[in-house]
Amino acid sequence: MSSWYLVAPIAVPMTTAVLCILLSTRRDLQRIVSATGAGMHLVAGLLLMAQVWQGGILAAQMGQWPAPFGITLVADHLSAVMVLITGIMGFGVGLYSLRDVDDNRERNGFHPLYHVLLTGVTGSFITGDLFNLYVWFEVMLIASFALLALGSEKVQLDGAIKYAAINLVSTVMFLIAVAVLYGMTGTLNMADLAVRVPQVEQRGMMTTVAVMFMIAFGIKSAVFPLFFWLPASYHTPAVAVSAIFAGLLTKVGVYALVRTFTLIFTDDVGYTHDALLVVAGLTMLTGVLGAAAQNEIRRILSFHIISQIGYMIMGLALYTPLGLIGAVFYLVHHIIVKTNLFLVAGVAKRLTGSMDLKKIGGLYKSSPLLAVLFLIPALSLAGIPPLSGFWAKFVLIRASLEIESWAIAAVAILVGLLTMFSMTKIWGEAFWKPHPDGDDRSLSIGDLTVGERVLLVGPIVVFAALTVAIGLWTQPFLDLATRASGELLNPAGYIDAVLGARP
C-alpha cells in the first residue's frame, strides 16, 4: 500500500501526458484534463508529504525486486517536500498556462510536454537509484528541449540550440561518472552506494568521480562557471514555460548535488565541499552582477536564479546541520518566489506590451495590485523581513558564522544588497516611471477578462500569500527543514529504509 504514495506522484503526470496526447484533437477537453491532472499531481504530493511527515522515510521496491537489485523509490523529508512544491508550482503554472500559452503552441503539444516535464522532475526527486536518476533527467531534458523550442520563434531556436548543446554534454558527463562509479562499487542503488563507497580503496579515483558528478550536476544547476546556457535561453519561451523552468529545473540539479554529496561522497569533505563553497560564493556574485547589467525583466530574473543557486550550494558546502536546514529552506522558498516573479513579468508584459524596461512603465499608477504582487516576491528574494527570503538567508548566514566562514557570510550579505538593487531597478523602471508611449498605454488588471484575472493573477496571489505565510509562520517550515537536514546528515535511516525495506 505504501508504495502507492511513491508511485502516484510519478504516475499521475505520466497518465495526464498520455491522455493529453490522446485528446490532441479535442483541445477544450485537453485543457480540462491538463488542469485536472496538475491538480491531482498536487494532491499526490500532499499525500506523500503527509505520509512521510507521520511515518518517516518511505521506500518501495519496484517490480518486487529487492534492493539493491531492482529500482527503489524513496522519499525522505527532502524528497517529499520537493515533490509537494513541484505539485504546487505545476498546478499554479498549469492554470496560468491556460491563458498564457497561445493557440499555436497548444496545438503543437504544450500540455503533453508540460506533464512529461513534471514527470521527469518528480521522478528525479523520488528515485533511489543513480541510473534511474539519469533516466529521469533525460525525460525532463527532452521535454524541456521541446518546450523551449515550442513556437519556433527565431530567438527561441537560438536559445534552445545553446541550451541543448551544453545540457547534452552534461548528461554524457553524468553517464560516464555513473559508469565509473558502477565499475568501482558494483552497485547503482544510492543507499547501497553509501555503504560501499567508503570501502573502496582508490580514494583519489573516488574524489575524481565525485568531481565528475559535481560538474555534471553543476551544469544542470547553473553554478559558476557553468551557467552560461541559462541566461541565453530562459527569457525566450512562453512565460508559463520559463516560469516553470525557473522554478524547478535548476533545482533538480541542486537536489541531485545535495543528495549525492550528503549520501555518497561524504568522505573527502575537505576537498569536495570546500570546492563547492568557493563555487557557491562565485556563483552568487557573478549571478547578481550579471543581473545588474541587464535591461529586460526576464533576463534580470534569469541571472538572479544563478545567484540564488549559490545560496543553496553554500548551505550544502557548509555541511553543518544548520547549513543544510538553510539549503532546504532556501530551495522551497526560492522555487515559490522565482516562479512567481516570472509570472508577474508575464502579466506586466500583457499590461504594457513588453518586458524591455526601457519600453515600459507606469504600472504602479495603472495597476497598484500588480505592484504589490511584484513587491512581495521581489522583497522576499532580496531577503527583507518578515518574508520567507529573510529567514532563508538568516539561517544560512548564521550557519556560516557558526563555523567562522566569514568570507562566505560577507558575500551572502553583499549579494542580498545587490539583489535589492536589481529589484529596485525593475520597480523604478516598470512601475514608477511613466510609460514612454504616454500614460494611458499601461492597462490595469481590471482591463483583463474575468478568465484572465482568475487564471493569470490567481496563481500569483496564491504564491505571494505562500511567501508571506512562510515568513510569518516560519516554525513549521523550519521544523520540516530540520528533519530533512537531520536525515541528510545521518544517512543511516535512509540506508535502512531502502536496504531493509521488504518488497
Binding site: 541510473f131 533516466v135 533525460e138 531534458l141 527532452i142 528541449f145 521541446a146 523550442a149 519556433s152 527565431k154 530567438v155 527561441q156 531556436l157 537560438d158 536559445g159 534552445a160 540550440i161 545553446k162 541543448a164 548543446a165 547534452l168 554534454v169 548528461t171 554524457v172 553517464l175 560516464i176 555513473v178 559508469a179 565509473v180 558502477y182 565499475g183 568501482m184 541566461p231 541565453a232 535561453s233 527569457h235 525566450t236 524591455d356 526601457k358
Partner: protein, 148 residues
C-alpha cells in the same frame, strides 16, 4: 582488451572535444554523437569485460552459473543508446530548424537571444562557404536589433 577499449575511449573523447569546440553546429553535433558513444564504451569497460561468456541462464537452471559476463552494463548501454538516439535526433532537427530560421550554423553569429553590445564586433567566419552563412549577418540584424 580493457587497455584497447581505454585507448579507444581516449581517442573518441579527444576527437569529440575537438569537434565540440567548433562554432560550426554540425561539428558540435558530431562531437556529441562521438561523446555519447565514448560514454557507452566506458560503461562497457567499467562493467568488466570477458570474452565468449554469454550472460545466459543454462537449460534447466534458475540462476546464472559462473563464469558469465555481467549482463547489467549491456542493459545500461542499451538504455543509454536509446536515450541518446532520441536526444540527438531532436538536436539535429533543432539545428536544422535553426539553420532554416536564422540562415546560419555558426553559433557565434546566433546572437538573437543575447544581442551583441553595440561596440562589440563579431568576427567574420573563417570559412563562410563551409558554414553556409547565406547572408546570415543581414538576417540576424533584421530580427535582432530592432532598437539599434
Amino acid at each position: 582488451m580493457e587497455t584497447l577499449v581505454a585507448f579507444t575511449v581516449g581517442v573518441m573523447a579527444a576527437g569529440s572535444v575537438y569537434l565540440l569546440l567548433s562554432h560550426n553546429l554540425v561539428r558540435v553535433l558530431f562531437g556529441l554523437i562521438l561523446l555519447s558513444n565514448a560514454a557507452n564504451f566506458v560503461i562497457f569497460a567499467a562493467g568488466g569485460m570477458s570474452e565468449g561468456l554469454p550472460p545466459l541462464i543454462g537449460r534447466g537452471d534458475y540462476v546464472l552459473e559462473a563464469p558469465y559476463s555481467n549482463p547489467l552494463p549491456q542493459a545500461l548501454i542499451l538504455t543509454a543508446i536509446v536515450i541518446s538516439f532520441g536526444l540527438l535526433a531532436f538536436a539535429l532537427v533543432l539545428v536544422y530548424r535553426g539553420y532554416q530560421e536564422l540562415g546560419t550554423v555558426d553559433s557565434d553569429r546566433m546572437r538573437l537571444a543575447e544581442p551583441p553590445h553595440p561596440d562589440q564586433d563579431i568576427p567574420e567566419p573563417e570559412e563562410p562557404d563551409r558554414m553556409h552563412v547565406r547572408d546570415a549577418s543581414r538576417r540576424v540584424e533584421n530580427v535582432g536589433g530592432p532598437e539599434s
